[in-house]
């Protein structure tokens, strides 16, 4: 049932028209995307956009309402233990096994992957090597509860990788980390995903993080994908316009245009010296993303109010 699909052309993740409904609420309204082998993809969106639901369906932790999903060639709803052995999960909120020692947990988790070793993929990862890779060699004997937030997160990455997964999920990996720990974490993820040649799917609500880590960004809001591409592609795709400002006859004027260079040329040809203080602003992905988030939050607030009114009635 869970024969591994080894074809190189086949995407690691295929999602088609994925829908999820809780009661009367549609959380995912027909989501489609693919992740190819070796890609690092960020699923970006505000809180409540449906990112966690999507990733939990892919991980096989949640049953979907409708749509087609294949992860490593298998429908996650029917993924067996051998399928599970091929992916790793790094959650934002792991705080399990607080009394265990770092090395102990890593060795235990690793031992469960040993039977899934193949010639191409010896499993698990050597514990000491992995501890070195995530910078925890000096803390191998410590209790998990004695680790700092950043150290704990690095251990979570190690546990997610110990089975040498072909695919790793990072669910909001830096939520609650201080800026330095965040930057260290980003370095770590970039390094291991390159070194291990692992496919990775990262959920985040932080655009800067998505730009830092991912080859490709998928923006999810209100249960729909509104953009999918590299950071530059997204800037063109969803912004599509530059902002041109100038002063003409004492008036400040602003215009959003697709081709700002051509616009400026025509403007100057037509009005010549009447135009001053010409200014062209590059389309900013961040501005657009923040606008999207604001829209989503407003919509959510409206929905909440309606719900409250409904409850009051």
């Amino acid at each position: 049932m869970n024969r591994p699909t080894r074809s190189v052309d086949r995407p690691v993740i295929e999602v088609e028209e994925l829908r999820m409904r809780y009661g009367a609420v549609d959380v995912l309204k027909g989501v489609s995307f693919e992740v190819r082998r070796g890609e690092v993809v960020a699923l970006l969106g505000p809180n409540g956009a449906g990112k966690s639901t999507t990733i939990e369906i892919l991980e096989g932790l949640r049953a979907r309402s409708a749509g087609r999903v294949e992860v490593l060639g298998v429908d996650p709803a029917h993924g067996g233990e051998d399928w599970r052995a091929r992916s790793g999960i790094v959650l934002q909120s792991w705080r399990d096994h607080a009394k265990w020692r770092v090395r102990e947990l890593l060795a235990y988790q690793g031992s469960l992957y040993a039977r899934y070793t193949t010639e191409r993929m010896p499993r698990p990862w050597d514990v000491d090597e992995l501890l070195g890779a995530v910078g925890l060699s000096d803390h191998a004997g410590r209790r998990l509860s004695a680790l700092s937030g950043g150290q704990r997160r690095r251990l979570d990455v190690a546990v997610g990788l110990v089975g040498r997964p072909e695919l790793v999920y990072f669910d909001e990996p830096t939520a609650g980390l201080d800026p330095q720990a965040r930057r260290d974490f980003h370095d770590l993820v970039r390094r291991v995903s390159r070194e291990l040649d692992t496919t990775a799917l990262i959920t985040t609500h932080d655009l800067a993080e998505a730009e830092q880590l991912a080859d490709r960004i998928i923006i999810l809001t209100q249960g729909r994908i509104i953009a999918d591409g590299t950071a530059e592609e997204l800037a063109r795709q969803i912004v599509g316009a530059d902002e041109v400002r100038w002063v003409q006859g004492g008036d400040r004027r602003t215009r959003l245009v697709a081709d700002s260079t051509a616009f400026a040329r025509e403007l100057l040809l037509e009005h010549g010296t009447a135009v001053s203080a010409l200014e062209i602003r590059r389309a900013s992905l961040e501005d657009t993303y923040l606008t999207l988030v604001r829209e989503a939050e407003t919509a959510a607030m409206v929905a909440d109010e309606q719900e409250l009114q409904g409850a009051a009635r």
């Binding site: 599970r84 959650l91 909120s93 792991w94 705080r95 399990d96 265990w100 469960l112 992957y113 089975g163």
Partner: protein, 280 residues
């Protein structure tokens, strides 16, 4: 490494780690408190006569052994709830064969913990409690099968019940009816003194039979006269404990699968959120 049932070896390794953690540092005090307190109570009852030939401690010691075996059920429920709250169970679920290894580890650790409780009670008890009859080989044979069936039955029920309890607070509520059952199960007072309907309730659950089985193992034949039906009823003991074991072993994996199917990161996060709200 790749032979055998997947997860079994890791499960035993896990059980040993959990066992070490359960008996180290601050945990040790909590672990020793109840068996030691019970031992003191048994010691103090040495002077309370029951009939012309016996003192109360002779009856309470075996009954207390049965009670501590039955407490394995509560330990399973409490630990399952705690492991659901902190995400340990989710970690097991997203690891290949992790749930099997988790369960084996849990049963190994809790069985060993209970054996430690029994040793704390029994080793000093054998020295100062008069009237026990442990010279026969039959007494230790009976002790062994009652203990074995009891561990399986109570922990399987614990997994079953624990699957319906998602928080530590819920696990606390479960302990109330169990303590009630212990109260009516003839461990601290003869069951024959209870109204008949309560006797039937007690006999439906393993606690009573664990106490009875332990008394039949460690006491001479004569005191059986004051039990229900004037007998140790070994066949009935084996049937009831065996039936509970069977039911538990069949049902526990089914409900556990149902419960773990619903575990996910967001559920763990939501439960923690609620727990924090209660604290704050």
């Amino acid at each position: 490494m790749s032979n055998g049932i997947p997860g079994v070896r890791a499960g035993f390794a896990r059980g040993m780690i959990e066992l070490r953690l359960a008996f180290s540092g601050a945990e040790l005090v909590g672990q020793l408190l109840w068996p030691v307190a019970t031992l003191v109570a048994v010691f103090l009852l040495r002077d309370v006569p029951i009939g012309p030939d016996y003192t109360l401690d002779t009856f309470i010691l075996p009954g207390a052994l049965g009670m501590f075996v039955a407490l394995g059920m509560l330990l399973v429920v409490q630990q399952l709830a705690a492991d659901r709250e902190d995400g340990s169970l989710l970690r097991a679920k997203v690891t290949p064969n992790g749930i099997r290894a988790y369960l084996i580890g849990k049963l190994v650790q809790i069985s060993a913990t209970i054996l430690a409780y029994l040793a704390i009670l029994l080793l000093p008890g054998l020295v100062f409690v008069d009237g026990l009859d442990t010279g026969r080989p039959g007494s230790w044979l009976t002790f062994a099968w009652v203990l074995g069936l009891g561990l399986v039955a109570t922990q399987a029920i614990g997994v079953f019940v624990g699957s319906f309890v998602s928080t530590s607070r819920g696990a606390g509520y479960v302990s109330l009816p169990v303590l009630g059952l212990i109260a009516i199960s003839g461990i601290f007072a003869p069951i024959t003194a209870l109204p008949e309907w309560l006797q039937w309730v007690a006999q439906a659950f393993p606690v009573y039979w664990l106490g009875l089985g332990m008394r039949s193992a460690l006491l001479p034949d004569a005191p059986a006269a004051i039990e229900l039906h004037g007998s140790w009823r070994p066949v009935e003991t084996a049937v009831v404990l065996g039936a509970w074991s069977l039911v538990g072993l069949v049902l526990a994996p089914i409900v556990l699968r149902r419960m773990t199917r619903r575990e996910s990161g967001s559920r763990v996060a939501a439960r923690r959120e609620r727990a924090l709200q209660r604290l704050g």
